[in-house]
């Protein structure tokens, strides 16, 4: 995937979530059908931390299934750093045993204006995915 299309209101939902849990990291799932993002699912950051996140996705996966949607990407925030995968992000995303998807959306809140970027991360390689907001 080289592009990720998202509607403005869904992107705003993600940013709002990230701002609400600031200074902790927020996390959640972008879900849809046929590659089209339809809905944002907030998840609980089990780490309850400002530097890491962890989703235990049992409930959210069940909700997705009930709604007939599939996981397209995972989002999380970087409260105090750039919108770029950290070493720990790359490490975890490269672990095939927990890689449900390979697209990660990162929201940086380190500047006045939130910055959102998307990346395809796997096998310890990071490639930027163009985020197209409509």
């Amino acid at each position: 995937m080289t592009q990720l299309l998202i509607r403005r209101e869904l992107l705003n939902e993600i940013i709002d979530h990230c701002k609400e849990v600031y200074p902790n990291e927020a996390c959640g799932i972008l879900a849809g059908r046929g590659g089209i993002i339809k809905k944002i699912y907030r998840a609980v950051n089990v780490d309850d931390s400002s530097v890491t996140y962890r989703i235990e996705p049992f409930q959210v996966l069940k909700n997705l299934k009930q709604d007939g949607l599939e996981m397209i990407a995972v989002y999380h925030s970087h409260p105090h750093s750039e919108a770029y995968p950290s070493l720990i992000d790359v490490e975890r995303a490269s672990d095939l045993d927990s890689a449900y998807v390979s697209i990660y959306v990162i929201v940086s809140l380190m500047h006045e204006e939130p910055e959102v970027r998307a990346f395809a991360t796997s096998d310890r390689k990071v490639r930027e995915v163009e985020l197209i907001v409509s």
Binding site: S50, Y53, R54, P57, F58, H80, S81, D89, S98
Partner: protein, 93 residues
């Protein structure tokens, strides 16, 4: 009727794409060990030295086994076991 084991997407590569496989009644850890015999590699991805890995959660009929009897939780025919790896990362480093 056996125990119904739900395999998460990332581990379906070990079950040839099967989303659900049969498991044997008994303790959760015995069930995992048995799965490993039929789907080599499954065991080490879920448990280590008889304990469920920190980044994996197991549910029996929707109940998190950490709130039951952990690895020793007993499952019987007709029960549903879900294996759910966590999604993690962070800003650190």
């Amino acid at each position: 009727m056996a125990v119904k084991v739900r395999i998460p997407t990332p581990l379906q590569r070990l079950t040839q794409g099967q989303e659900e496989v049969d498991g044997t009644p008994g303790t959760v850890i015995a069930l995992i060990n048995d799965l490993d015999k039929r789907f080599p590699g499954m065991g080490e991805r879920i448990s280590e030295a008889g304990k469920i890995r920190r980044f994996v959660n197991i549910y029996v009929n929707e109940e998190d086994i950490r709130f039951l009897n952990a690895e020793e939780t007993v499952v019987k025919d007709g029960d549903e076991v879900s294996i759910v790896p966590a999604i993690a990362g962070g800003a650190k480093q």
